[in-house]
């Protein structure tokens, strides 16, 4: 199964995408990390102030 799948993949277009989408690792890695840091700063502000109580009170009736 695994081998057959490997062979049948429409490789050319995807390989090109992969090459284009992979700029120098350090630069993009740093940028992603900075973005995530900003996001986590925001989330620290947005997170329910008493997360434990919120999670405890979140009880739903079962549905479909």
């Amino acid at each position: 199964m695994a081998e057959r799948t490997q062979k049948q993949k429409p490789a050319p277009s995807r390989t090109e995408d992969a090459v284009e989408a992979a700029p120098p690792v350090t630069e993009s890695g740093d940028k992603l990390k900075a973005e995530l840091d900003d996001l986590l700063d925001e989330i620290d502000d947005v997170l329910e102030t008493n997360a434990e109580d919120f999670v405890k009170s979140y009880v739903q009736k079962g549905g479909q």
């Binding site: 695994a2 989408a21 973005e35 995530l36 996001l39 989330i43 739903q60 549905g63």
Partner: protein
Amino acid sequence: MAIPKVCGIETEYGILVRGSLNDATSNPVTASSVLINAYLSANQRKVGWDFNDEHPGTDARGFSVDDLLAPEIETHLVNAVLTNGARYYVDHAHPEISTPECRTALDALRFDRAAEEIVRASMQAARSLLPNGAEILCHKNNSDGKGNSYGCHENYLLARELPFGRIVHEITPHFVTRQIVVGAGKVGCELPGVTANDVPYQISQRADFFEEEVGLETTLKRPIVNTRDEPHCDPTKYRRLHVIVGDANMSETATFVKLGATSILLAMIEDDQMGDDLALANPVNAIRQISHDPSLQRTITLRNGQRATALEIQWQLLERAQKYERTHGLDSVDAEVGRQVLVLWEGILSGLERDPESVAHQVDWVAKRRVVRGFAERHDARPNDARLKALDLQYHDLRPEKCLATRVGLDTLVSDADVRDAMTNPPHDTRAYFRGRCLAKWPDDVVAANWDSLVFDVGRDPLRRVPMMEPLRGTAESVARLIDESDTPAELLARLGS
């Protein structure tokens, strides 16, 4: 040839009342009614749902168990039809919106987004009805993390002559593996005896709740393929495949690919272009194993004895769909929409294979995991830390000031203007157009509506039921002028009759 894949999506929202001193309001059934009524009184006149012709106990395998099932529909609860053709109601202690029937996955996405905004508007409207400090919160998710689940169901139109057994065999591999593309992600596990240390994070909200391969139930012993045979249209020509195995998505890409890929694969099954060689040895075990392995490395056993990862099975299905596009075309799902689905589906599979983080802007479970992981590292939180579960819940929180999904950089596919339009106006190219327009124009004269009929009160005569047994009749093209030019429903009915 495959018939047009008319589709729709119905979502039960999580509901919670906070700050209420009144026990009655904190009951979820009452709270759901308050929520929906608040929206209706602020936005439109209420037209009730018509329960004639509802038979959720009829099984696609050829028998009926209406007497054996607890009533699925509680007729005394709020149950309204909206001018966009949708149904907004209380179901199993949750507010639920069913989108109108849509001709394409893109339109169904637009109406699913509109439903989300309707719930947001309802929360806002309810604030003015509740005591100071009390509020109703809604979440577009599928579980409370404590073993209680509620659904996000899809519906697809199929030809009646397609044998149901073949649908089950051929679509199940997709239903089990598609979660790697469209799973909404979950912190922890809700299987008895499995702890957050065993499964700190999983791909799907719903996988823990499936116990059967095929069956009629939707609330207990949930099956991967649901057999409810209630087409809501001409039963001699059509089936409606009722899919209960999906997660509610916050990512527009995920909702679109979920509906689009499934529509294409169902068209292929109708045209006998799928085959059953991907059948799984044990679908119920497989759906959990896949969900519990975000590394995507675990292999599952096929009925023919081979082993494959979920990703390999998804590649197989995509390649078959691409081939089907070349040999048969995708008119049944709209050729342009179908092409867009295939491009996005392939892009996501490539991304998952290369580095799942690369699809954090499209795939809910990846986007949520990124936040949960980042938070856990920053605050040194262990897997059972309540804050991680709070992040999970808040990802789906529909309060704009608390929602995480709107903050993580997800791609959008429909414009705000199109979503706003879909909150009040029906699709143009299905029978929902007739339902929505009549309701908007004559709210006092439509006494009841359901998927396949409208009931008018035309004054002196008995009530008049207009059957709508064809999902693609009653479109703008065929009835817009009739509705525009009729001053009264009696006039419209006379014109329709002539």
